[in-house]
Structure formats: structure tokens, C-alpha cells
Symmetry: C2
Subunit: 254 residues, 2 copies
């Protein structure tokens, strides 16, 4: 907000109204945060949905969301909503473009600010389906959603593809220790393709973000696959990227 521009009759003023300063003559609207919660079960991308608890569309499947409260920012609101459903804090969250069609909520005008969240599905398992009728669905094979939530999911998926091609964020979906084959499967599912494992491991390891552990995961093979952990230091420092149009883009971005 700021130096607003209006038709004459709309020129706002800061006025005292019942003791508080307000801008006059303007319409106030509800603002909601909706969370597109992604998980990965080792096999497929998952989406956490809930059954809406109030009218309209009660019982229909929907994204987890909430109206923004008087003393919280959108970011805080999204974290609150996410904690209420999953019990998790400090989750990776990224805001995507607001949805603001005037009639998108039939009850009352509501502007939605969606966030996509990447969570380690294992950390969640515990309180699944307790209070909020929440369920994981396969991404792309989930029930119909209310309002424009389907578009939000689609937009979130595109943004995730985009972002993950440039930044190492998919680790947020994996447990602390993971194997290279797991990581590769994750990338392959997101981009719906397959990669050469030799090239994949070379490229991933060349980032120096991964530290090999002594133990192996023997769940999926006789030989066992080495576990890796993220080097947190480097991870937080190296959120920059790899580009093309600019000679050495890493130098410039973020």
C-alpha cells in the first residue's frame, strides 16, 4: 500500500472512527492463506488434503487454510495453519501468486494467498487424520477440490518444478538420512522422466552438499545403499543457482 490513487469521490482520508484511525471509503476483504502441502513417500509425490469443516461445501476436500488473524503476517498465518494440521514447525514454505477473482468464494469476497509447503512425510505420520480429517493423496490422483484449489495445486506444482531445477530444495521432502537412489526417484517423479544414475550422482555430489554416512539402507537391495546427510552449513549458504542467459549467473542471483 502507499501512495494510492483514486477517483475524486474515492480519495481516502485517514479518519478517526470510534477512536481508531481508518482510511475512509474503502472496502475491506477477508484474506486467507491456503497451504499446498507436498510430501514424498519414497515412491510418489503426495498432497495433504482435509475435509472442510464448515459450510459451504462442508465435507468436500480442500487445501488446508485459514483466515489471516489481526496480529499475524501471512507467513506467520501459514506457519500457524500448517502447525495446526501437522504439528510441524519451521517448515519450508513459499508464497505463490495470490488468487483474487472477486467471486472465487461464493460466500464472501476472499483473497487467497497460497503457500506451498515441503514436509518430510515421516515426521508427520504421527498425528495424521486426527482432528481434521486429513489424508494424503497421490498428486494428480486426488479428489476434486473446492473453489479454485485445483488451480492452486497446479500452480504450486509448476513453481516447485521451476524452483527445484535451480535450487536444492527437494531435500526438504526427505528424511534426515536418505540414499542417492531415493533422491533420484524424487527428481524423476517431479519431472516425470528418468535420469542416468551415473550422471545424476556425479552432478549431485559435485555440489558438495551431501555427506556420506557409514551406514547403508538395506531396505531396497541386498547390497545396500549408502545414506547421505545434508551439509546444513553449505545448504543454507548455497541456495543460489545455475543459469544460462547471463555468463556467470550464480554471481548475481539472490
Amino acid at each position: 500500500m502507499g501512495g494510492k490513487l483514486f477517483l475524486e469521490r474515492e480519495l481516502p482520508r485517514a479518519k478517526h472512527i470510534s477512536g481508531m484511525m481508518k482510511y475512509s471509503g474503502q472496502t475491506r476483504v477477508l484474506v486467507a492463506v491456503d497451504c499446498i502441502i507436498f510430501g514424498f513417500d519414497g515412491e510418489n509425490f503426495k498432497l495433504l488434503l482435509i475435509q472442510r469443516g464448515f459450510a459451504p461445501q462442508k465435507q468436500k476436500w480442500s487445501l488446508m487454510g485459514g483466515f489471516i488473524q489481526p496480529h499475524e503476517s501471512l507467513e506467520v498465518g501459514a506457519q500457524r495453519v500448517l502447525k495446526q494440521l501437522t504439528g510441524l514447525e519451521g517448515v519450508y514454505l513459499e508464497q505463490i501468486s495470490a488468487f483474487s477473482e472477486p467471486t472465487r468464494d461464493p460466500v464472501e469476497r476472499t483473497i487467497a494467498v497460497p503457500y506451498f509447503a515441503l514436509i518430510d512425510i515421516q515426521k508427520y505420520q504421527a498425528q495424521l487424520s486426527s482432528d481434521y480429517h486429513a489424508e494424503w493423496f497421490m498428486l494428480g490422483d486426488h479428489p476434486q477440490l473446492i473453489f479454485d484449489h485445483e488451480q492452486m495445486v497446479e500452480m504450486a506444482k509448476m513453481r516447485l518444478r521451476y524452483k527445484a531445477a535451480l535450487h536444492p530444495i527437494l531435500f526438504e521432502l526427505l528424511p534426515e538420512k536418505f540414499t542417492l537412489p531415493q533422491l533420484q526417484t524424487l527428481y524423476e517423479k517431479l519431472y516425470d522422466t528418468t535420469f542416468d544414475k551415473r550422471n545424476f550422482s556425479r552432478k549431485v555430489l559435485s555440489t558438495n552438499l551431501l555427506v556420506r554416512q557409514k551406514e547403508k539402507d538395506k531396505e531396497n537391495s541386498r547390497k545396500g545403499a549408502f545414506y547421505f546427510k545434508l551439509d546444513k552449513e553449505k545448504y543454507y549458504d548455497n541456495f543460489q543457482a545455475f543459469l544460462k542467459f547471463i555468463p556467470n549467473p550464480e554471481k548475481f542471483l539472490l
Copy 2:
């Protein structure tokens, strides 16, 4: 909006209130769009600012903005605001992350959704400084701005750098006909560096987005520099990008 989650006492319901359906018990807030308007004068990046016409902070410099109106989306609101100030329509606009600190506007809670705009500074010259006390300032050498507008400018600049490294959007800042040296200066200013002109021209021309004209620009040299125009067809088709983490990223993004 959507499947919201609330404390018991906050559980919303859709109710009839003076004949209209409303969600009960929720707080409504003002929503503003603010435009970070970028231009390029051939030499430097410019920022279009106005002097705020109403209290508080009347007369202080600020971004052009406006409150969202009942029947318009954010996108439409941003285009409206932009047209009011510049007279331009169909401008390149991109939403950036919302600003929602509860106290960011001292008068009343307002959530701001900023858009950055790229305009051809020449198309604008005409109605400059008429109604709205607007002025172009050098980016990075402009007066102090109200509220959190400075942060918005900073964020917009970062996003522009990011986006322009991947997508050919800087053409939006140039007139219909422009020369390669002009284009190169544009990139050099944005990234605050210099590029090798041979490599730059090869890379730019290899996109096949530019069509060389017969005429030359003789303003800046004896020899003259060929004008180029954008191939609009290809431009609209080729908004995709160039990446690194994924083998052939262009295939996957957007």
C-alpha cells in the same frame, strides 16, 4: 479461502447478514496493490515515484498504489493503477510476494501486494508529472520512501535480476526498435557488470528473437548501429528458460 481451520471459538460459519452471506467472526482488512515501475533511459535504470496525495505522510515520496476495489482482481487493480498514472495499458506486470506485517501501515492494517512493471520510458514521457506529481528517479538514488516501500523496491530489483537471467523480459524496457549496444548496456546496468560484446551478441542473436532492420541508429556513433526489432511471435512462444540442475530444463519449465 477454503478448508479453514480455527480455534473453537473462531469456527466460521456462512451466515446471512443484512441479506448477504458472510463468514462470521473474521477480520476483514484493506488490500492494496503497489507498483514498482521500472524504466530505462538508455543510460540507467529509473524508478517512477509519486508524491502521496493524502495523510499520513502526505507529500512524501511513495510507490504508486491503490486499494483493491470490490469488483476487480489484484491483477486488474494493478493495471488500473498503472494506467491512471502512466496512461499505458497491457504493461508487463509481475506480482511479487505480499507485504503483510500487521503494523506496516500505521493508520490501519493493510496488506500490500506489490507488482513490478516494465515500461518503455519513451511511451510514457508525454503525461509525466501532470496529475500525480510523478517523477523518474535513478534506481538506487531516489528519495526516502514511506512505510516499507523501500523493501518492495529492493525485492522487485532482485526478482527482476532473477527473472531476466532466465527469460527475455528486458525487451519490455526498450522501444520497438533498439540496437545491440543499447541492449547490452541494459543488461550491464541491471547486473552491474560488463559483458564481452562478441559473446553477448552471439548469445542474444542465437535466440532468434531479434530481427535486424535496414536502418541504423546514428545517435551514438559515426558508423551507426543496426536497429533490431523483436520477433513478437517467437517472443511470446519462447518465454521458457535455461537452467542447470536438471539435464534439459527447458523441457520442463513453464
